[in-house]
């Protein structure tokens, strides 16, 4: 912990200690709502009928309004008739399947909450083709990443945690493989524990990426020392760990957005954002390097001018290694935020295009997948209320999406 962080912690605690003493006031809960006055059964029946009719009309109006708003927002026709459109969408150039992790509320699961589920889904229809239970003794799937073959994935499963202590529970990597040709038959989805290092309690895989050929796994692991970049050679092998403790004046985590692989199976892009260290921005790590210093073994590809604004929320490199996409978030002092999907050239480090600028509601934009050259992207959170879609040639085509999904990988 840095002197500044120590000072901040002491100031916050000292401030809390200045609170005038005394027990909390008694809790006054609201009374349950009751009908006013007696209601005859006949009148009650009519009232229920009237309420139902009003509800139907209101719901109809809201749905119609929502569809109109969605069309206005995305600039094209939204899928209708519920989450499954009657006809398959034409979604060009994207993988046919993805693995989605779902929780009851679509938020990142609390480790002590109900177990999460992993499902194999069809991109075009959204149909669930297979459901994978969390293997014991683990409690919840917390992360997923995909190789480029459309049927190899790595998942992280975590044990149940204690919400009172807040301690991050231990977790483990699993390899998921399925045969796309016979997905509907039982037994074609295999999940097996990878014989690579466990992630001990107190540490967690923050972001991860599987290389295109599925033989290397890069993961940002949060530890008590800050975040470190692990690269595993699958299926076996201890990780090669890169840290950045040599960065003398830096503090905190350092790695801001998770790793992504170029198709050479050697280059990993990540976001490093702690000043005053020079070289903040998107850096490219040579994973064949033998060192352990994240900064020495990587080079700056897309410089970030300042850590203050905008916030760089996610970066991803295209498999051809020539383009970086980033989600940038403007955070003014007021209450209004918006995000930009920005394209950068790796060769020049310069911004080459802003692809969209959605306002932020209760969602955030995330680049789920990029084609080899970056001409097609799969993004989620670009629409109000969430959702996902394909962005190609400036046109956004929504795909079926469940609000319960909190992570997905193509």
């Amino acid at each position: 912990m840095t002197p500044l962080e120590n000072e901040l912690r002491a100031a916050l605690r000292a401030t809390a200690a200045t609170m005038p003493p005394g027990p909390p006031p008694p809790l006054t809960l609201p009374k349950p709502r009751r009908l006013l006055g007696p209601v005859s059964p006949d009148r009650w029946s009519r009232r229920r009928w009237a309420v139902s009719l009003t509800a139907v009309l209101l719901i109809g109006a809201v749905v119609a309004g929502s569809l109109a708003l969605a069309s206005a927002f995305t600039g094209h026709r939204s899928p209708v008739s519920g989450p499954f459109p009657p006809q398959p969408l034409h979604v060009p150039d994207v993988p046919a399947y993805y693995v989605a992790l779902t929780s009851a509320d679509g938020k990142i699961p609390n480790y002590s909450a109900k177990p999460t589920t992993a499902t194999v889904r069809a991109t075009v229809t959204g149909k669930v083709l297979a459901t994978i239970a969390v293997p014991r003794p683990y409690h919840a799937f917390t992360g997923v990443t995909a190789a480029a073959d459309d049927h190899t994935f790595v998942l992280v499963a975590a044990e149940a945690g204690d919400p009172k202590t807040g301690l991050v529970p231990p977790s483990r990597y699993y390899l998921l493989h399925f045969d796309p040709a016979s997905l509907t038959a039982a037994g074609t989805v295999r999940l097996k524990a990878l014989p690579i290092t466990w992630i001990p309690a107190g540490s967690m895989a923050l972001d991860m990426a599987l290389s295109a050929n599925g033989t290397s796994l890069a993961a940002t692991v949060g530890t008590s020392r800050g975040s470190e970049l692990y690269v595993y050679q699958l299926p076996k092998g201890n990780p090669h760990v890169w840290g950045w403790s040599a960065c003398g004046n830096c503090s905190g985590d350092g790695i801001g957005s998770g790793p992504s692989w170029a198709a050479d199976g050697r280059t990993v892009a990540f976001l490093f954002f702690f000043s005053p260290e020079p070289g903040i921005g998107v850096r490219l790590l040579d994973t064949h390097a033998v060192g352990t210093n994240l900064l020495t073994d990587s080079k700056l590809a897309v410089p970030m001018a300042d850590v203050s604004s905008p916030v760089w929320k996610q970066v991803i490199i295209t498999p051809d290694g020539r383009t970086v996409f980033a989600i940038l978030e403007n955070e003014p002092l007021g209450q209004h935020y918006n995000q930009q999907l920005v394209r950068f050239s790796v060769a020049t480090g310069q911004r080459t295009a802003v692809l969209n600028q959605p306002p932020i509601g209760n969602h955030f934009e995330h680049i789920q997948w990029t084609s080899p050259t970056g001409d097609t992207l799969l993004i989620s959170g670009a629409e109000k209320g969430g959702g996902a879609g394909v962005l190609k040639n400036g046109r956004y085509t929504p795909i079926p999406w469940s609000s319960h999904i909190f992570a997905a990988a193509w």
């Binding site: 500044l4 000072e7 901040l8 000292a14 200045t18 809960l29 509320d105």
Partner: protein, 183 residues
């Protein structure tokens, strides 16, 4: 296969022992007894005013009670109520700002812990903290006052862990810069 993960949805809405009003009342009361002091202190750090902090926490627990049947489970209650307290503090600060009554509060009494930092230094740090955007301020308080891990902060604030890390980094950067500047 239904896209809506009906099994999950059905679990949420299934009637359970804790969903009955009387049990909900007892459960919320028990949570209040256990967690209200800490949450009031959290709100006090954010607001600097004990009555306002008590109001925010009271309202958060009332909200918890109203939504009890919709919670995915009792173990989500603390996360919910912590989020509600943060939201309540944000609203209160906004109202105070509108009334131009946003003040850097004066501590009411000294204590042994308060003396770890001199009053002046603490005021300076807190002054800088209160000038941060809401999200950054909340991340700092959750991380350095409550010592929550980043994933728990993310759940509480309904943001991504990467956003937590970037917000914290930027907040510390701004804070460091502000504290170096001569006041």
């Amino acid at each position: 296969m239904d896209f809506n993960d009906r099994g999950v949805v059905d679990e949420i809405h299934s009637p359970g022992a804790l969903r009955r009003p009387r049990d909900a009342e007892a459960a919320v009361e028990a949570l209040y007894q256990g967690y209200a002091p800490g949450l009031i202190r959290l709100a006090y750090v954010m607001l600097g005013d004990r009555p306002a902090a008590e109001d925010v926490v009271q309202e958060a627990f009332c909200g918890l009670y109203r939504r009890w049947q919709y919670l995915a489970g009792p173990d989500r209650a603390l996360s919910y109520v912590r989020s509600a307290v943060l939201n309540g503090c944000r609203s209160t600060v906004r109202r105070q700002a509108v009334r131009r009554a946003l003040v850097i509060f004066q501590p009411h009494a000294a204590s042994a812990e308060a003396l770890v930092l001199s009053g002046e230094e603490r005021q300076e740090v807190m002054h800088a903290v209160r000038r941060l955007p809401a999200r950054q301020r909340e991340v700092l308080v959750l991380r350095f006052y409550l010592d929550l891990p980043d994933d728990e902060i993310a759940r509480t604030m309904n943001i991504q862990p990467s956003t937590v890390r970037s917000a914290a980094a930027r907040a510390l950067e701004t804070l460091g810069r502000a504290l170096k500047e001569p006041s």
